[in-house]
């Protein structure tokens, strides 16, 4: 990927759709499914992941000539774990309520394969500037995917959007949507839709 030197805009934009980490690369499934029972949780999770992603990509890119090849994965994990600890304490300081709702899943950003994947696959070979672009692109793509899932699940499962009632009191909520099973169904459905779109594009 790095050899044919894509433009900066392309580096930034490809995370949105073409290489979307969730819908196309199928990475970072655990937080995607676990925290998307509400819009607010989904957005906080997306932002926290974006922060960790950008910060770790910068540091990995800055140290790419210093870290010996043999210990690189271990070093990346340590870098990521440091930023996740920071994000964890930050969210706890800003909103205890959201922190409790997300629970262990903030700490579990450490093992989100998107971050390690980008650190190893992109920023260990690219300059700091490009890594920042890539981090933001992938992070926003991830957040958008989470937002899509969170919106559908909260609308159908609770009849609300970010806690605001949308459908009124006569709406009978589809409880299954906020339960774990709903996460699988909605993500499966979204991927089906993405397949349809891709097939159309391929035919055209």
């Amino acid at each position: 990927m790095a050899s044919d030197e894509p433009t900066s805009a392309d580096t930034f934009l490809r995370g949105f759709w073409r290489d979307n980490p969730v819908l196309v690369q199928v990475l970072g499934m655990c937080p995607t499914l676990a925290v998307t029972n509400g819009v607010i949780n989904a957005v906080v999770m997306g932002l926290a992941t974006t922060f960790v992603l950008v910060a770790s990509e910068v540091l990995v890119s800055a140290t790419r000539t210093i870290i010996p090849k043999q210990v690189r994965i271990a070093s990346y994990i340590l870098i990521i774990a440091t930023f996740v600890t920071m994000a964890d304490y930050l969210i706890q300081a800003v909103s205890l309520e959201v922190h409790r709702a997300l629970g262990a899943f903030i700490a579990l950003i450490v093992v989100n394969c998107i971050i390690l994947g980008r650190a190893e696959g992109f920023s260990s070979k690219n300059t700091i500037g490009r890594s920042i672009l890539d981090g933001f692109g992938m992070g926003i793509g991830f957040t958008l995917a989470l937002l899509a899932l969170g919106t559908i699940r909260e609308l159908l499962g609770n009849g609300s959007f970010a806690g605001i009632d949308v459908f009124g009191p006569s709406f009978e909520p589809w409880v299954v949507m906020v339960l774990p099973a709903g996460g699988f169904f909605v993500l499966g459905g979204i991927m089906l839709l993405a397949n349809v779109v891709k097939q159309r594009q391929a035919r055209a």
Partner: protein
């Protein structure tokens, strides 16, 4: 100390709050290595073993961190422990069963980034389990993971023989099956005390 009886912990982690189907931990290998029952069950065993080792180590490390009053190092030290445990398992498997080593392939080192394992270490700390409770919890969680991934592999083996529309092939179908499995596991919710 948590007074929860061992039987409850076991049932809870194995069925009611199954790590894969109810708490969404370990989804990556669940989707990735569930094509064949044989590989899936071996992956399950490897994960169970790593869980047991890292649960033991996490318990020790947590006691140490509390003693030196440095809880902010929790996450970093856990991930280092898990990475070393995985390295150990990798060397053992490579030595005793090269075929299995090849079959597991890239997914063996990826156990490090299996959130089920870090999740287990974090949950047992936050629930304040003692040593025996932690070990029971680890075994149950590992077996629960194995149960889920073997069930999924069984279904996918049967699906090989079925005619599936092109559009459905791949992750979309697997996710829908996982959803149905998850609905089935919701039936266990009444088991707990």
């Amino acid at each position: 100390m948590n007074p929860e009886p061992l039987g409850n912990i076991f049932l809870n982690a194995l069925l009611i709050n199954n790590f894969v189907l109810s708490t969404f931990l370990g989804i990556c290998p669940f989707l990735g290595v569930s094509k064949k029952i044989e590989t899936a069950s071996r992956m399950g065993m490897a994960v169970t073993f790593v869980m047991l080792v890292s649960s033991l180590c996490a318990y020790g490390i947590n006691a140490l961190l509390i003693a030196i009053d440095a809880p902010y190092l929790q996450l970093i030290s856990y991930i280092v422990i898990i990475a070393s445990a995985v390295q150990l398992v990798e060397m053992v498997i490579k030595k005793f069963s090269p075929a299995l080593f090849r079959a597991l392939g890239i997914f063996l080192p990826l156990i490090t980034t299996n959130c089920a394992i870090l999740g287990l270490a974090l949950f047992q700390t936050s629930k304040q389990y003692d040593l025996v409770q932690s070990l029971v919890y680890a075994i149950a969680a590992g077996l629960g993971f194995m149960l889920a991934i073997v069930l999924m592999a069984g279904i996918r083996e049967e699906l090989e023989l079925a005619e599936v529309p092109d559009l459905m092939k791949g992750t979309a179908l697997v996710l829908l099956i996982a959803g149905i499995l998850s609905v089935a596991f919701m039936g266990f919710a009444g088991l707990g005390a």
